[in-house]
């Protein structure tokens, strides 16, 4: 198809380039400069150090292994749960739907602490197992690779569930029905029709989880380091902050570039995998699939899912809850050691917490909204305006997610400490806003891209053929049909924004504290019980929000209207 340069390109492209330039390219360029400097000269020494020191190579290997295994496991679990909940007659669906996404709402460093309280040497679960089976030594050790893998999978499988379940819901069942009318079994129809068309969502999921895992810091730091399992992010953190080496920041920057490269390779691979296929299954003549029956397996499978939910969702939240009501750490759980004082303190005695909630919500509501707008415009430009390079821009914008928060923060400091055009965003809430946008762009861009691929182009063409302007088509046809992808992308960006830590502890300023920073400072001060109360309040607030939004959007799909 001939690529026409039209007027939209002349308006949209410069605007995009301007945004890209200030927000992304300028700080990212700092990363390159930092990485290439060693003792003041422009050299490749840093990259050399990254690839020759044994400990760095080990960290690289650990990172990739962790990323791949987490991605595989979490995607598999997410897919299984999605299918069970959307397409079968699993019992207690409503409860599972609400509970299974919860781990995603808890800041990962809090989840890591919760699991220490469960499976650490003095942890509740370990102690329980010891007394049940008369063991001398606790059977589970939460520190090290397995602990990091466990908690990483627990934190990320909800991503898979959210993305894949929405994708499955979007699939028009008539394709499968047609296959079955032609004699295919239910399983064959599923395998050959439904599964391939949700492939964009599955690959997007696997990729996002891979990149999330390799750039995660909190969980490997808290659970991996004491177990001698080092990854690139914990290594980078050590280089950046310990002044072990005057070139520490430079080496850290070089290491971050390695991380980014790994992520970009993953992104390119995902683009390639879904490029050629036709995935249009949202045809507008929507018919929800009937739930397949699990037969005699229904009861056992429901039990298995229930046990899974108990272990993975209820256990850590209970651990946090117990911590929040104890007078102090280490006391036994008995009535005289229980108190509500921490909740009272958090809710009334700490103005910093009210501020933190306000700041975090402001950021978490506005950043994803802006990102969704950018993503819609980008994909629109790519599909309908034939804007050259729009796809690459989307890929480029997704890469900062792979850069560890610590490094992005250092980049932002270097880039923005001096005022630009007389305006300084440093030490204001705006630098946090831009950092969050940089960091989490990947979610709306990937999910909306995957969702748009599922749209039958005929739907949009119909509007054009009937005389609608492109923008009307976008507003009245495309966007409503993209609702699933838009809300998934928004939600996936919202949650990390709300509880973000690694960027915020370096970029926040007095009176611009965030929830993550406040919880972190509380824990560092030894006020773990108070931090527990704060965490429970966060979980509660977000849980309510989730219920509220869910009731508005869910049933339409299930009933097929």
């Amino acid at each position: 198809m001939k690529k026409a340069i039209n007027i939209d390109t002349y308006i949209l492209l410069p605007i995009f380039l301007l945004i890209l330039g200030t927000l992304f390219i300028y700080p990212l360029s700092r990363l390159f400069f930092l990485a290439l400097q060693h003792n003041g000269e422009r050299v490749f020494t840093n990259i050399g150090i990254v690839f020759t020191e044994a400990s760095n190579l080990k960290a690289l290997k650990n990172t990739i292994v962790l990323g791949l295994s987490t991605s595989a496991l979490a995607s598999a679990i997410g897919f299984l749960l999605s299918w069970l909940i959307v397409r079968t007659d699993l019992g207690m669906k409503r409860i599972f739907e609400v509970l299974l996404v919860l781990p995603f709402f808890i800041p990962p460093f809090i989840t890591a602490f919760a699991w220490i309280r469960l499976l650490g040497r003095g942890g509740y679960l370990n102690t329980l197992l010891c007394s049940l089976f008369g063991l001398d030594n606790p059977p589970f050790n939460i520190y090290g690779f397995w602990g990091v893998l466990l908690v990483s999978v627990i934190y990320t499988y909800p991503y898979a569930y959210i993305i894949i379940s929405r994708s499955i819901r979007n699939v028009d069942a008539s394709f499968e029905e047609a296959a079955r009318c032609s004699g295919a079994t239910r399983w064959q129809a599923l395998r050959d029709i439904a599964l391939p068309v949700i492939l964009p969502a599955v690959t997007a999921t696997a990729l996002i989880i891979f990149v999330t895992t390799i750039s995660m810091f909190g969980i490997p730091m808290i659970l991996g380091t004491p177990g001698r399992f080092i990854v690139l992010t914990t290594r980078i953190y050590g280089y950046v902050g310990s002044f072990r080496d005057p070139n520490g920041i430079n080496i850290a920057a070089a290491m971050s570039l390695v991380l980014v490269t790994v992520a970009v390779l993953g992104l390119i691979m995902q683009n390639f995998l879904i490029r050629k296929e036709k995935y249009a299954v949202v045809t507008g003549k929507h018919q929800a699939a009937e739930a397949s029956s699990l037969g005699i397996l229904r009861f056992p499978v429901t039990i298995i899912v229930a046990v899974f939910t108990l272990l993975v969702v209820a256990a850590p939240i209970s651990a946090i809850f117990v911590t929040s009501i104890m007078k102090a750490l280490g006391l036994s759980i008995s009535p005289e050691n229980i108190t509500a004082a921490h909740y009272v303190r958090v809710l009334t005695g700490m103005p910093i917490i009210v501020r933190a909630f306000r700041n975090s919500f402001l950021l978490a509501l506005s950043a994803p909204t802006v990102l969704v707008l950018i993503a819609v415009v980008l994909h629109f430009a790519q599909r309908h305006l034939e804007m050259p390079g729009a796809g690459s821009i989307g890929t480029f914008l997704s890469t900062p997610y792979a850069i560890p928060g610590t490094v992005i923060a250092v980049m932002m400091i270097a880039a923005f400490i001096q005022p630009i055009f007389g305006v300084s965003i440093y030490n204001t809430i705006w630098i946090l806003f831009i950092a969050y946008i940089l960091r989490f762009a990947v979610f709306p861009i990937r999910t909306i891209g995957a969702a748009w691929k599922q749209l039958d182009p005929a739907l949009e063409e119909v509007a054009r053929v009937s005389g609608a302007k492109k923008y009307h088509m976008l507003r009245d046809i495309s966007v409503p049909l993209l609702k699933g992808g838009i809300s998934a992308g928004w939600l996936l960006a919202f949650m990390p924004c709300l509880t973000e830590l690694t960027l915020s502890i370096l970029l926040y300023s007095p009176r611009n504290e965030t929830i993550g920073v406040t919880a972190y400072n509380l824990i560092q001060e030894g006020l773990v019980t108070v931090a527990g109360a704060l965490a429970m309040i966060i979980i509660f607030v977000v849980f309510i929000l989730q219920l509220f939004t869910r009731s508005g959007s869910r049933n339409r799909y299930l009933r097929g209207t």
Partner: protein, 343 residues
């Protein structure tokens, strides 16, 4: 979808309104310094406990109503990263810095980042706590000690050697010199100590000591029973004990580890007068009394010690060679990393 949108709009409005009112608080009118009253605003970068520092700042602002003290608090590692990033990019908003990385302060002093000050209350500060000819000061003392869980440890705890007891195998906690300035000081000190030396660390590693991030984590771990015993900072142990956790601590009989936590005024500060006044306040008797009330050992001998805290004169400490630490930072970390199997 409509509900989601209206919910978002509502929340943004609410957040915006409260955010808006918050902004007004930040507008302070700077009074002209006509009557010698202190005015203006300074920013403090610190890794000290936020609630404690907020108290000192509030008291200071009461004494000098025309002033504002802004506090940026984060962990020592992050603070180091932030300061260094800012300084290498050319400027920093910090007027006063206060955290536990003596080697970094030494480096800053050598590079001219720190201002030489002689506050009027310096008479309260013993000479050995005046650093770099007045570029940095100690205003309260902390030590790295041995903390233990009273439910799990029944035998007598004496010091560094107790951590090698096989009874505590795998249940000893320690901060990592890769992330903690105090832990790095410890490594430099122990490695050079005749009685302990690198041998001590080899035995500690053989006893499967768990080396994590910071001292706070060790204190929390001991309180919650994760570890039975470990190395952490005295005021952290005191804080857990006060909250009611089943813990106690001792100053090592071989000698505790003295951890300097210098405070300095940045030479790039735009309000050096106010910055110096704040440091001065901390050295003054009211400031020292506030520190004491929070359980810290005041540096001034004219202020009583917190309850249950021995006098610094009675605490034996190991000797730390700061030059050695500064020059051998890399080798120390490499050797330690090799012994413990972490890098």
């Amino acid at each position: 979808m409509k509900r989601l949108i209206s919910l978002i709009v509502l929340l943004v409005m609410v957040a915006g309104i409260s955010f808006g009112s918050g902004q007004k608080e930040t507008e302070k009118v700077d009074q002209p310094a006509e009557d010698n009253a202190l005015s203006g605003s300074i920013t403090l970068y610190t890794s000290e406990t936020l609630t404690d520092v907020q108290e000192y700042a509030n008291q200071f602002m009461k004494l000098y109503p025309e002033t504002t003290v802004e506090i940026f608090r984060t962990g020592t590692t992050e603070l180091t990263a932030k300061l260094q990033s800012e300084l290498s990019a050319g400027q920093t908003p910090a007027d006063v810095v206060w955290f536990a990385d003596m080697a970094l302060f030494e480096d800053f002093a050598a590079k001219g980042y720190l201002e030489t000050i002689y506050p009027s209350e310096v008479a309260n500060v013993p000479d050995k706590f005046v650093y770099f000819d007045g570029k940095a000061y100690e205003v309260r003392l902390i030590y790295q000690i041995v903390m233990y869980n009273t439910n799990l440890v029944k035998k007598e705890v004496r010091g560094w050697e107790t951590l090698l007891d096989p009874e505590f195998k795998g249940r000893v906690g320690s901060a990592s010199p890769f992330y903690s300035g105090a832990a790095l000081t410890q490594v430099a000190t122990i490695a050079a100590d005749e009685r302990l030396g690198w041998d001590y660390y080899k035995k500690l590693a053989a006893n499967e000591a768990v080396v994590g991030g910071g001292n706070g984590g060790v204190a929390r771990g001991i309180a919650s029973g994760e570890f039975a015993i470990g190395l952490t900072i005295d005021f952290m142990a005191r804080s857990q004990k006060e909250q009611g956790a089943p813990v106690d601590y001792v100053y090592q009989e071989e000698g505790a580890l003295y951890v300097p936590t210098p405070i300095s005024v940045m030479s790039s500060s735009s309000n050096k007068e106010l910055a110096e006044a704040f440091v001065n306040y901390l050295m003054s008797v009211p400031g020292q009394l506030q520190l004491q009330a929070n359980g810290y050992m005041p540096v001034s001998s004219s202020v009583a010690l917190p309850e249950g805290v021995p006098s610094p004169a009675d605490i034996a400490i190991l000797k730390t060679d700061w030059q050695y630490l500064r020059n051998s930072r890399q080798e120390l970390l490499d050797t330690y990393g090799e012994i413990f199997g972490i890098q």
